[in-house]
Amino acid sequence: MRIDPFALRKPAALLGLALVAIHLVLALFSPWIAPFDPTELVGGRVDPPGGEFLLGTDALGRDYLSRLLHGGRMALFVTFTGVVAAVTAGSLAGIAAAWFGGTLDDVLMRLCDVKLALPGILFVSLFITGFGESFGVLVTLIGLVYFPGVIRIVRAQALTQVNLGYVKAAQLRGESAFSIIAREILPNTLDVVYVEFAIRMSHAVLLLSTMSYLGLGLSPPTPDWGLMVSEGVGQLAFAPWLVLFPAVFISTLVIGLNFGAEALAGALGLDASRGHVGGT
């Protein structure tokens, strides 16, 4: 796996990486940076930005800045855990399907077809209605939503590897299937896996925000950007910052992740929009 350092120095890449880094720092250190407890009722109802409350207060008098900072923590934590689960399980399943082929491949692909045929929001609604909105359920849901896509992408990449000479050589040396997957195929699919992770992260942040906006995501009083947009939309005409601030936080994180994914794909010799174009 070669990394092209010039791809990471492009303005868009730098912007993306900077945005992601800022969000990560804010999320990690929010308990120390945030001026108030995000659930504590500290101010008046819908105080405008300024003064004691830099970004104002929400309808219950909670400090909006503190909720925004803690909201990033939740968004990143839930989506990161869910996407890691999806990418890890999807990569292993995709490589296994490519290597073993036959019935395992057929079964996995048909399962993916079934999942991908279900409208996304319907699947999310049914899952949440059935299992609730706890942290574990949301992580599992995000994992399940992105798992089939990852399988397909990684399987396609792995299929280009299984017939190459170095894999055949490993077979002829008598290496076990596990060894060939772990030592030969997996390292040569990792570039795709990394880019897949970055792209899925930005999708997952949007998905979680959408779910929370629709009342299917994190539950109050948990600070969450999508939920904050949903709570503020009823007062859009009177207190537009209640929608504006969380929307800016969501947008900057998603833009950062997208630019970052694009930069990572460029650095690895991949085209994030058109799939794999480089060699290994």
Binding site: L41, R45, A59, S125, G132, G215, P220, P221, G234
Partner: protein, 509 residues
């Protein structure tokens, strides 16, 4: 101006000076179109097949197309509607009802006792309110006698229930589906779940009403911002079911009149008392009730003008029998009760579930959960989707009589109905039992056979005192229903029972 006109003008001015209220009350103007949108969630909204039926009519404001035998006003007093009088037997088990004569349905047919009998045959099979009626007997062309399974001193309230509308007699399978009633408007177009268009019923039995030619309803359940945009843009003359939380901001919309009812729905916390539940211990229920800062909930969520403090019964300030909360928040006592119950370091309660059946419900429980922390009570809360919520919260009812620790909405009704909701076999009481429950039900049984309202009120007060001490459920706070309308709209009154808002007397200047 000629001499005759001058005399008439001076005469009118003098008459006005003599009776200033006559000038203050503008004369209703006939004609025009009144358009409103409704934010109330209506889970029974119909489809193309049954959308005109009173059980499924858009926004359940069924009294636009239909009438009941009685009507319950905002002060929770029963008024005659299609019945003009009712007389109970000595044992309160049979009620003779005199029907209004000269009432015609939208199709021109006279309303008679046969229509009442056919309508109640349908209702008896379909609603819990009408199941107490054992038999409806025709005693004249415009007279019926209703035989009840048990005595009920407050039976006329039942006749005012929004589902118990009078429809033209027809077989059970088809009755009501044509949307023909006796109401002030007749349905001319319906887009199920979205839009309803009605026109004036020229033969309405309340002479001279309705004032407007056309009534249009757009349904916007939960879509507050789009409803307000429509209101600001002139698409709607009124918005019903406005989120009480935005009251302070409404001043910024010019020409807006806010109308609040005496009360409205309240948030009910159902405390399950099955074996193994923490709420089987009365001290924990009492500690939770004492730890809640109810005033704070009202202040933050409702802004004092659109909310009220609940007294842990289903009664509301609209009920003359309502007993305002007699105890104050007492964090020290709550802690002491928890310690006695074996939780000296505080307690983490099971997750409490709720759904946003009203926009402010999530806010109520967020403030509530925050306020009980002071007493060492950790109350995890989780919002659930509204679809299927009711069935979901009544967990495994038939087998184990368990119920989730969950929210339920409680509407406004007469005490005979409201206080009966805490009976031991009802999920809303968390399947309450024990000596206090038995005493409560004994008082209830006495009340329903007590014809004297003063004595009945005394019994109801005692029942509320039992609920406040025993805490089988918690009603922390409630809303005062709020609607907004343009300043040129007159005659539109709000109602604590949001389904009872009438449009007969609405007119536009």
């Amino acid at each position: 101006m000629n001499r005759r006109e001058m005399i008439a003008a001076v005469g009118a001015a003098l008459a006005g000076l003599a009776a200033p209220e006559a000038l203050a009350q503008p004369k209703p103007k006939r004609g025009g179109k009144f358009v409103y949108t409704n934010l109330y969630p209506n889970n029974r909204m119909g489809d193309a097949k049954n959308g005109r039926h009173p059980y499924h009519l858009l926004d359940i404001n069924t009294r636009s197309a239909f009438n009941g035998l009685a009507f319950v006003n905002d002060r929770l007093q029963v008024e005659p509607e299609l019945a003009t009088a009712w007389t109970p037997s000595a044992d309160l088990k049979a009620w003779d009802i005199q029907l209004r004569e000269g009432v015609v349905f939208h199709n021109g047919r006279d309303m008679t006792a046969d229509d009442v009998i056919a309508s109640f045959a349908f209702h008896q099979a379909r609603t819990s309110f009408a199941r107490q009626i054992a038999k409806v007997e025709k005693t004249g062309t415009h007279k019926v006698r209703m035989h009840l399974a048990k005595p009920n001193s407050e039976f006329p309230f039942i006749l005012g229930e929004y589902q118990l509308m009078i429809m033209p007699a027809a077989p059970l399978e088809t009755i009501g589906l044509d949307g023909i009633g006796t109401g002030p408007f007749r349905i001319v177009d319906l887009d199920p779940k979205r839009r309803l268009v009605m026109e004036r019923n020229e033969r309405y039995w309340r002479k001279g009403l309705p004032h407007v030619d056309r009534l249009e309803v757009a349904s916007s359940p939960g879509r507050m911002e789009s409803a307000l945009n429509g209101f600001r843009g002139g698409q709607f003359d009124a918005v019903l079911g406005v989120d009480p939380g935005i009251l302070p901001e409404l001043d910024r919309i010019p020409g807006t009149v806010v109308s609040t009812a005496l009360s409205g729905d309240q948030a009910l916390m159902i405390l399950p008392k099955h074996e193994g539940s923490v709420f089987a211990d009365k001290r924990i229920r009492q500690a939770l009730a004492l730890a809640i800062d109810r005033e704070k909930i009202v202040r933050i969520v409702y802004g004092t003008k659109t909310g009220w403090v609940g007294n842990d019964s289903h009664l509301t300030p609209s009920n003359p029998e309502f007993l305002p909360v007699t105890f104050k928040r007492d964090v020290a006592k709550a802690k002491r009760l928890l310690a006695e119950a074996g939780h000296p370091n505080g307690i983490t309660l099971p997750t409490f579930y709720f759904t946003a059946s009203w926009p402010e419900v999530p806010r109520v429980f967020q403030v509530l959960a925050q306020s009980v922390k002071e007493a060492g009570i950790t109350l995890p809360i989780e919002q659930r989707p509204s679809d299927g919520y009711r069935d979901w919260r009544v967990e495994d009812k038939a087998r184990t009589r368990k119920h989730r620790f969950a929210y339920g909405p409680a509407g406004v009704r007469n005490p005979g109905v409201s206080l009966y909701r805490m009976r031991p076999d009802n999920n809303e009481s968390g399947y309450w039992s024990g000596a206090a429950c038995e005493k409560y039900m004994k008082l209830y049984d006495e009340a329903v056979v007590e014809p004297d309202p003063v004595k009945r009120k005394f019994l109801y007060v005692q029942m509320q005192q039992i609920l406040a001490d025993e805490v089988p459920a918690i009603h922390p706070a409630g809303r005062r229903n709020m609607l907004i309308h343009k300043s040129n709209v007159h005659g539109l009154e709000n109602h604590s029972q949001f389904w009872s808002i009438r449009f007969d007397e609405v007119w536009k200047a």
